[in-house]
């Protein structure tokens, strides 16, 4: 066991030392060839070349010397001494061989087992590995690597000579190997066996139920950091787990984290910060959307250039199903690399997903403003530096591997070709120079002559005879460097003349047979070069504008800039203050985002004055129970108190804007109800256009979701095997979780009470994020909002809380709250309920729409919540139903969606009423706010008009115009092809 640890550590360290300790003679000495020894120096001198330098400049008329697979010297004025075979490149270009540090080359993938059962898969495979199958940190790509000729050839054709091979499977994916793409055997192909350690947020082929969500992935990452450091701090180890060994051992390698959008990138980087890891982020091509924030992470990126295909818009009905995001992304994605450079972000480019479009997409990025130097560096020097192997690959410097490509011209001129890819001093032909021979030719054949056009597509030649009146006749042609063979019909008979030959300076010559079988001589003489696509010679200076703005957020109804806070005077509206002043015709003054004054006939200078006459002004609506603006809702394990909804806030969700349009200014984003102990809440304001972190309400108290009843006992899944399956078990889940947390607390207390020297000789308890969260509840540092239905379970949870000496803050849904409202009031719990949902589950059979009114009557603080992205934008109407059902006063009814949820979220000191000093979260309604005819005209958050109906009307037109413009552009591009 101990031995194994050291083995891994040594391997990792060896990998790090390798770049510095290179010398020649790397051949595998213990390998016996089938034949006689054939050792060669492979010493070449490439002369008269334009050579790309690490600093981005070109050495012209320069020489590159290589020997034994390494670079010996690079420079101008080098004498080519004996022992080198000279290759005169005649002003062709040499670039470092390309390096792709995000491939799965040569590494076998795992198959995902298809599970047909609906039973939860609660445990990892019974192996001495991690408790979670998505943690595969012990995997070493080098141990699974086997060269794949076909894939290798594809990479070579694209100009790559070294790639990082990883197994993109799991949340911890183990190490990748740096592999050169020559014909060497596997032992020699791997030049760094453990080059980087890899992570992601996707569980891959693991069929274990946990994680079932993005926040579960984040939580698993956090806990594994803690587990690994606890585990490897102990001698002897408390048990056997190779994944934790490896996790710790490979922390010193470059840490590469794959994410699938910019929001994940920001969050993943923060998790890295929590554990002193700076990830290299393998991003998707959307970083341009918030490049400023990506830059703030300080992370280097690995960026794909798989620019999206044009969305299908020919069919007008299908076009309507294409999002504005996809339309804009099609336009803007090719500008991504350039935007990243403008934001001073360091990145490598990977060919992954772009595949054969790699070079053309890279050229497109350059056309769109990426400097050619940045483009080259991103596929040579920078990826090498990110792995710390820049002395081995990625630069043309002495002692580095002799990995380079020869191009017919500057790489970013459209007609330049990659001709040869040299890998470890061995040549691999990509294309032949004869491709430069495209053009118009005259074929002289005995006494006859024909005009012939020769073109190349994907390296393959095609030719035709040009006749009068734009008619043509097909020519069958085959070409190699040395041979030409072609045939065609000289007349309409279809009988073909067949010709063979060899190249000469400006064409080809040879012999052949006519259709009637007579021998003849022929010459094919070039008369004109092919008509070339005009190449913009000034691409680097002539930077095009972005085709459209990068709106905030990057979704329809986003804006070019986020609205600004205003000082306001709203005059003459019916003001629902929700405080002692009551509901009255009044003026409201807002300064610095706060309510500055409520009164009659107010006047103020330097304010935006708003005519509220005939309208109603209310506090912003607060939704105590929402799941909008989240990437995922439910984690599966019985107790997922460690997951944080804050990790998965989606600031680009259109439902934020739609909520604003319904007068909603704040919401608690809750974990779902799939388990008794859910996750930690995110409490947000609907600051449309700001990134996730800035949606969170500063300094808000922390909450957690609990759930009871049918959902948590998996009533709709007959195959479920997860504890609990009854309400009896649900109680025990809580009792157990709190008891365990207390026990955990005691262990830490014991440890903390030891002297420093005693602590050194004692293993600290394992930090456990589940227990720590439960402890926060017991310590009143976190408050519970519990999904609940029937009276028995409500009563139960009150009793559990009492026995552990804390309070349930809020019962949510609480459909039978009316049956135990007196107990709730006595306990001090609030009720956040639906207005009139009922009957959809057995436990909702006795839900009644009078619930809110009765609970209120019994002294419970009552809120009406949505739990639904659509209903949340009509919460005022849902509150109104308490007037219909139970005769609640209109003022009290409105309080259920304003001040009362603020009380339940401990935010009533700054929200929920139009009271001096409180946040100016306000809604101006066209009509009585409880009426179905009321429409929110303007919604302010802290004096900032995040929604305005008039502006929305303009936005509708702008969206239509923008869509039409991009769809037209897609159509035009289609016509060009």
């Amino acid at each position: 066991m101990k031995k194994r640890v050291h083995l891994i550590v040594r391997t990792a360290v060896a990998a790090l030392l390798l770049p510095a300790g290179i010398s020649g003679g790397f051949a595998q000495d213990n390998f016996t060839p089938n034949g006689i020894a054939d050792v060669r120096q492979n010493a070449f001198a490439f002369t008269h070349a334009n050579i790309y330098q690490p600093d981005g400049s070109y050495l012209s008329n320069a020489t590159l010397l290589i020997r034994e697979g390494r670079i010996v010297e690079v420079g101008s004025g080098i004498d080519v001494s004996a022992g080198y075979f000279e290759v005169d490149l005649g002003n062709r270009y040499i670039y470092p061989g390309f390096v792709d540090i995000y491939t799965q080359y040569g590494i076998p993938t795992l198959e995902r087992e298809v599970r047909t059962s609906g039973a939860e898969n609660l445990f990892s495979a019974d192996q001495a590995l991690n408790v979670n199958d998505a943690i595969r940190s012990n995997f070493r790509a080098s141990t699974a690597f086997s060269p794949e000729a076909e894939a290798r050839e594809k990479f070579r054709k694209l100009g790559f000579s070294a790639v990082l091979g990883l197994r993109a499977d799991g949340i911890a994916r183990g190490t990748s190997a740096l592999i050169t793409l020559g014909d060497e055997r596997a032992n020699e192909s791997i030049i760094v066996p453990d080059a980087a350690a890899h992570y992601s947020l996707a569980k891959g082929t693991s069929t274990q139920s946990m994680p079932s969500s993005l926040m579960g992935s984040f939580a698993l990452l956090r806990q594994t950091y803690l587990d690994a450091s606890w585990f490897t701090a102990q001698e002897p180890r408390p048990f056997t787990d190779d994944t934790l060994e490896a996790w710790t051992a490979y922390q010193s390698l470059p840490q590469i984290m794959e994410v699938s959008n910019w929001q994940q990138a920001l969050k993943a980087d923060k998790i890295g910060d929590e554990f002193d890891a700076q990830y290299i982020l393998k991003v998707s091509g959307d970083s341009y959307k918030r490049a400023d924030l990506i830059a703030d992470t300080g992370a280097s990126l690995i960026v794909p250039i798989d620019f999206p295909d044009a969305p299908k818009v020919d069919d007008v009905i299908e076009a309507d199903d294409v999002s504005l995001v996809d339309l804009k992304h099609w336009e803007l994605a090719p500008f991504n690399p350039r935007v990243l450079i403008e934001n001073e972000i360091s990145f490598a480019i990977t060919s992954s997903d772009a595949d054969e479009d790699f070079l053309s997409n890279l050229r497109k990025a350059v056309t769109n403003g990426l400097s050619s130097q940045s483009a080259i560096d991103s596929i040579t020097r920078i990826p090498a530096e990110l792995l710390g192997v820049e002395s081995l690959v990625g630069q043309l410097i002495p002692d580095a591997y002799a990995n380079f490509v020869i191009a017919s011209g500057d790489l970013f001129e459209a007609d330049s070709l990659l001709l040869e890819n040299w890998i470890r001093g061995k040549k691999h032909v990509i294309a032949s120079d004869f491709e430069n021979r495209d053009g118009n030719y005259q074929l002289v054949l005995d006494d006859r002559s024909y005009d012939i056009e020769l073109v190349f597509e994907s390296g393959l030649p095609s030719a035709k005879i040009l006749l009068a009146d734009d008619e043509t006749r097909a020519v069958t042609i085959e070409l190699t460097n040395d041979l030409i063979s072609f045939s065609f019909a000289e007349d309409d008979s279809g009988n073909r003349s067949r010709l063979n030959g060899w190249p000469v300076d400006e064409g080809w010559t040879g012999n052949g047979r006519s259709a009637s079988g007579e021998m003849m001589a022929w010459q094919l003489n070039r008369v004109a070069a092919a008509v070339e696509n005009p190449v913009d010679a000034d691409v680097e200076t002539d930077v095009p504008d972005l085709p459209s703005s990068i709106s905030l957020p990057f979704v329809a109804h986003g804006r070019e800039s986020v609205p600004q806070q205003q000082d306001l005077l709203i005059k003459g509206a019916t003001v629902w203050t929700n405080d002692d002043i009551g509901t009255l015709l009044a003026d409201v003054l807002v300064r610095d985002g706060k309510i500055a004054e409520v009164g009659q006939d107010l006047s103020a200078s330097n304010v935006v004055e708003i005519d509220g006459s005939g309208k109603h002004l209310t506090p912003g609506i607060i939704d105590e129970h929402s799941h909008i603006a989240l990437f995922n809702i439910n984690e599966i394990v019985t107790n997922s108190s460690m997951v944080r909804m804050k990790d998965v806030v989606d600031s680009e969700s259109i439902n934020i804007y739609r909520n604003l349009a319904g007068g909603v200014t704040a919401a608690q984003l809750l974990h779902g109800s799939s388990n008794p102990i859910g996750g930690q809440s995110a409490i947000i304001k609907m600051r449309w256009g700001l990134p996730p972190e800035q949606l969170l309400i500063e300094g808000a108290d922390e909450f957690i979701k609990f759930a009871l009843g049918e959902n948590v006992k998996r009533s709709r899944n007959d195959e479920s095997v997860r504890y609990p399956q009854t309400r009896m078990g649900v109680e025990q889940v809580f009792v157990n979780a709190f008891s365990q947390a207390r026990e955990y607390d005691r262990r830490w207390d014991e440890y903390n009470s030891l002297s420093r020297s005693q602590q050194r000789s004692t293993t600290a308890p394992r930090r456990d994020l589940v227990h720590e969260t439960m402890l926060e509840i017991l310590n009143s540092e976190r408050y519970v909002t519990s999904h609940s239905y029937v009276q028995s379970e409500i009563n139960m949870l009150i009793n559990v809380a009492d026995s552990f000496d804390f309070n349930i803050n809020t019962f949510t849904h609480i459909l039978e709250g009316y049956k135990v409202a007196d107990k709730m009031a006595q306990h001090g719990a609030g009720g956040s309920t639906f207005s009139d949902w009922w009957g959809y589950k057995w436990e909702a059979s006795q839900a009644i729409p009078y619930n809110a009114a009765i609970m209120q009557q019994a002294g419970v603080v009552v809120a009406i919540n949505s739990d639904d992205a659509e209903m949340s934008r009509r919460l005022n109407q849902e509150a109104a139903k308490s007037v219909k059902y139970g005769g609640m006063s209109e003022v009290d009814a409105l309080k259920q969606v304003t001040i009362n949820p603020a009380i339940l979220l401990h935010l009533d000191d700054r929200m929920g009423s139009i009271t001096l000093g409180k946040d100016a979260d306000l809604v101006l309604w066209s009509d009585h706010p409880l009426s179905i005819y009321a429409v929110a005209e303007t919604t302010w958050i802290e004096g900032t008009p995040y929604y305005d109906r008039q502006q929305d009307m303009l936005m509708r037109e702008q969206i239509a115009i923008e869509r039409a413009r991009i769809i037209a552009a897609i159509g035009n591009e289609g016509n060009e092809d």
Binding site: L214, H557, R658, G839, I848, Y850, E890, I932, Y933, D952
Partner: protein
């Protein structure tokens, strides 16, 4: 009057009438309301704001009905003969025709999550022969919650598969399904197969849309069925084909359940390739995209997605809200149905779908038509219900205020074919029980 005075005044009226009603509730037991007895005396409701259901409003109106049939309607000035009538002066409250709820599983499905209570979906793709009527449970506790909001007639409809079976229009009062039926087997329900399906990728936790590979096959199954049905002579008895014959003689309608534009086109073209006179699109979320086809074919739409989110982020935020207006403006005949809001327990909010339509473009009486006159016409029962006209059923209710707005909707009394039905359901019983419990505690 200022706002507060208004509120007080409203509440006083409400309380006084509520007292009257609760007195009559005291007869109720702890099971679903007793079906009402037939009308004995002629009844006249006076002092009413009468919403006829066809767009007309009669201020200070009078309506009389005898033996369950409306005998007169007009204003106080029309000197309607009130002799021998039980006269109820409702002092400016509102009278509405009973709302009509299409496409519902009311009475077929008690608890959505409980399999034993589900009788809404038979096994298999083709179930032309199954009939919702016979599974309709008059003792469902959901029914009274609908009556409480003015919904007095419902099209009880089977779900699932490609051909789900026949629906029946039910009066929401009756001892058993035979009594309750207003029009039996009014139509056959066809669910147009989806062209695309959405699946969650278990590795990335994200949803992905894929083409439905079974689409073409499903359409072929439908054609094969309808071709056989059209040619059916009764030789070699086939219950499914037999059940479809009313489609061809015009005695039953074909309800095409389709939401996407292409699905609507395909479904309508499918229906029009057979000699079926009565065709209705149910769902119709993207009907506006294909309005000219629906206009040309004279096909009405039962629109369901009012309280929905817009289909795409780029769509107007109030697109679903204003869709009834846009469809009406386009010249289509539109009714509203609550199906797309999901669970049947929410369909009691049908009037508020019309209210939303009124908030976003339609005038209130036109919005009201969508759930009265239009629904009745589309469902083929406008000879009996849907508007308040002489000779039609006295299926109507009284509300203190605008019944399309939850703020003002307070249904005080309701009649189905003149029977004075009990609005006091299980939910009201539970309300009183616990209200009283805490009231007693306070005192």
């Amino acid at each position: 009057m200022n706002l507060l005075q208004k509120m007080k005044a409203t509440r006083i009226i409400f309380l006084s009438l509520a007292c009257y009603l609760i007195a009559s509730f005291s007869m109720s037991s702890a099971i679903v309301p007793l079906p009402a007895a037939d009308q004995t005396d002629p009844i006249a409701i006076t002092g009413a704001v009468i919403h006829v259901g066809d767009g007309e409003v009669i201020a200070d109106g009078v309506i009389t009905f005898t033996d369950g049939i409306i005998t007169a309607i007009g204003s106080a000035n029309d000197n309607i003969d009130l002799r021998n009538h039980l006269v109820i002066d409702i002092q400016g409250q509102h009278v509405y025709p009973g709302f009509v709820l299409p496409n519902t599983t009311l009475g077929l499905n008690e608890v959505s999550a409980s399999r034993a209570t589900q009788d809404n979906e038979e096994y298999g793709d083709i179930n032309a022969s199954v009939r919702a009527a016979i599974a309709y449970n008059t003792d469902s506790e959901i029914i009274s919650t609908h009556r409480f909001n003015g919904i007095l007639t419902a099209q009880v409809t089977p779900q699932g598969g490609l051909v789900a079976g026949s629906s029946t229009l039910m009066k929401l009062d009756g001892w058993n399904w035979e009594d309750a039926a207003l029009r039996t087997d009014d139509g056959m329900h066809l669910n147009w197969p989806p062209m695309q399906v959405r699946r969650r990728n278990p590795q990335t936790f994200e949803f992905e849309t894929q083409e439905n590979e079974e689409y073409a096959g499903a359409v072929q199954i439908l054609h094969s069925l309808f071709q056989s049905a059209q040619a059916y002579t009764g030789e070699r008895l086939n219950l499914n084909l037999q059940a479809m014959q009313p489609l061809f003689d015009g005695s039953a309608k074909l309800y095409l359940h389709a939401n996407e534009a292409k699905a609507i086109i395909s479904a309508v073209r499918f229906a029009r390739s057979y000699p079926i006179a009565g065709v209705v699109v149910v769902g119709g979320r993207e009907a506006l995209m294909v309005k000219d086809l629906l206009l040309a074919e004279d096909i009405p739409v039962l629109y369901e997605a009012v309280h929905n989110l817009p289909g795409m982020a780029w769509r107007d935020i109030d697109e679903p809200y204003k869709m009834p207006f846009l469809l009406t403006q386009a010249g289509l005949k539109i009714g509203l149905s609550g199906g797309a809001t999901g669970m049947i327990q929410r369909q009691r909010n049908l009037p508020f779908l019309a209210g939303t339509a009124a908030a976003y473009g339609l005038d209130q009486e036109t919005a009201l038509m969508l759930i009265t006159k239009n629904n009745a016409e589309i469902l083929g029962v406008d000879n009996r219900i849907g508007t308040l006209e002489v000779g039609k059923d006295a299926t109507l209710f009284v509300s203190t205020g605008d019944a399309l707005d939850m703020r003002t909707s307070q249904i005080l009394g309701a009649y189905i074919q003149g029977r004075d039905i009990d609005l006091f359901g299980t939910q009201q019983q539970l309300y009183e029980r616990f209200r009283d419990k805490y009231s007693n505690q306070v005192e």
